[in-house]
């Protein structure tokens, strides 16, 4: 089984969320809890590193949608980085690149956050 795991690191006031494994209907609630926790702690700069993400379903994408408006209301953002082509393809066909900033690597995304602040 490709177990789903979430790890959170902090760098320069940005929460870096490492996703690993299958983010599907089964595991989406876990990811949702993580996001809710970050928001409760008023941490609105979130960088999701998808390097080790092997699958994302609509329910997984739904978690991004569920929080983006609130996060942006507080002048934060969810930015994504290190997306494997297979994962990017899913984001792309559902039109997510128009909604989210997606970067090739973590540094680029981090710099974007830093520039803004």
């Amino acid at each position: 089984m490709n177990e789903f795991k979430i790890k959170i690191r902090e760098q320069s006031n940005v929460q870096i969320v490492d996703l690993k494994g299958y983010l599907d209907a089964h595991t989406a609630p876990e990811f949702e809890q993580t996001m809710q926790k970050l928001i409760n702690e008023k941490k609105y700069n979130i960088l999701v590193n998808c390097k080790n993400l092997s699958y994302i379903s609509s329910a997984g994408l739904g978690v991004f949608m569920a929080y983006i408006e609130e996060i942006r209301k507080y002048k934060g953002d969810i930015k994504l980085a290190n997306m494997p082509p297979k994962i990017y393809n899913v984001f792309d066909i559902l039109g997510f690149p128009l909604i989210y900033e997606i970067y090739n690597n973590e540094e680029e995304a981090l710099n974007k956050f830093l520039k803004k602040s």
């Binding site: 209907a25 609630p29 379903s57 739904g62 569920a66 559902l94």
Partner: protein, 567 residues
Amino acid sequence: MKRGDLTEEKTKIDVRSLFEFSKIVNQDVSIEFIINFLILTLMGKLVCTKAMVFLRNENGEFYVKLSKGLQGKSKKFKLTKNYLKLVNTSKLKGQNGKFVRYLKNSGIKFLIPLIYRDKILGYIGFSRFEDRKINKEEANYLNSIANIAASALQQKLNRDELVNLNRELDKKIHQMNTLFDLSKEFATVLNEENLIKLFTLSLMGQIGISQYGIFFKEKGIMKTVSSRLTENVDCDFLEGICNLKKPELTTQLSNRLIRKKLERIGIQAIVPMTLRDEVRGILLLGEKMNKSAYSDSDLEFLYSLSNIAIISLENSRLLKEAIEKQKMEDDLLIAKEIQQGLIPKLLPQHKDLDLSAINISSKIVGGDYYDIIDLDKRKFVFAIADVSGKGTAASLLMASIHAMFHTLLPLDMPPSELVKRMNNLIFDNTSNDRFITFFYGILDVETKLFTYVNAGHNLPILLKNNDKIIRLDKGGVILGVTKEFITYEEGNIKLECGDLLYFFTDGVTEAMNAENVEFGEDRLIKILRASKNLSAKEIQNIIVDNLKNYCGENQSDDITMIVAKIL
């Protein structure tokens, strides 16, 4: 240079130019690049001041893809006649009036088709510096470059179409995966809250929305289940769109009032959630975050997703109901155990008495009560009561009667006083619509004197040893009706050996057969007379069997009886 050389030189330049053009447009470039390059090449080569390219869209209309040296709004044109070769627009008349007028107004003098294998992909329109004419070489060059451009365009169109098809296919596959993923997950999640969570997450993720409202019909009334809409939606109003058979865009709704209202709160699509041809819920969806419109494919997906969800939700509800019902039944079984403890498990024994008693509840718990108590080996108490109604409520009152009776009995007061006190207690402590019929008596086995009070209970039957029937009717009104001026009369009757006392509740005499005819007292007395020489237990069994035969499986009330024979 001679004129011939000049022509030859020019031809060479033309050929080289065409070759260059062909090389570039056949590389991996976009349609926009080809058109731009085509216009620039033409403008340079033929000294054009204005140039534009029309392309044909999927509806067969021609629209301006790119223009240079021109201003003004672009329109779409449906052409009734095609132009298969280079034409001078000033010579056009009759057909395609709008198109021709547009060209003339834009100052476009020439029009040449972009043809690939007899299919017109578009047109190039242009006009030359100082209104120059086109000579033969130039016409050849134009035809050639138009052909090369058309061929390159067709290639790119094919490629783009393939890319689009692939994307559509990818999207469909993803949709199928989502549906598959969810039906799998839904099958294992039985908690309604989690189901809705999964449903909404998938919805937001697949369509790319953050605004939605889910409404379900519960007992015929629409209720908000989950909503991220900026405004509350009046659920009554939703009833008006419950007749939808399939998902609709708000703009397509025929009811203007509903359309306006939904548009005002930013709803773009409505999806009915259907179960067995009945709309059980409504899904309202806001604008997509990437601002694109809802496609047919989106609506199709939403409809499938909603239908999977509603089935799972229904299952979860049924399961919840079943669990609750089971839990209630478990509770009732415990109550039954407690209630069974309130009636005697073993009857008192005395050499001069032959006793038997039974209580059969129509529900798990009931409102009938009986008791036989040995006070001091000489005095024996017989009690029977029937609480109005049946089931749980009646059983609670029955328990109270038991408690009151057992508290008051040791106080050794006259039976009439005891019953009066019970009446007052019940009147003070229960609602007005609850009544209890109650009978109790004390038998002194030495003197064989039976003293009793009957508070509105079915008259117990005394079958004398000489076959005469006496009914025990002394007493007063049923318990719990009023407290004022109530007194109870005591009855005293001397019993003899061979007498039979039969106490019962109305479940016995009012038991109905399939034709709704009551069992009745006459039938009961006849059985008593016929079986009076048998033991108390046997008499009781005969009556129970008769009742069962009489009303079959549909016992509608609690049945209680005491048989007491004086030996």
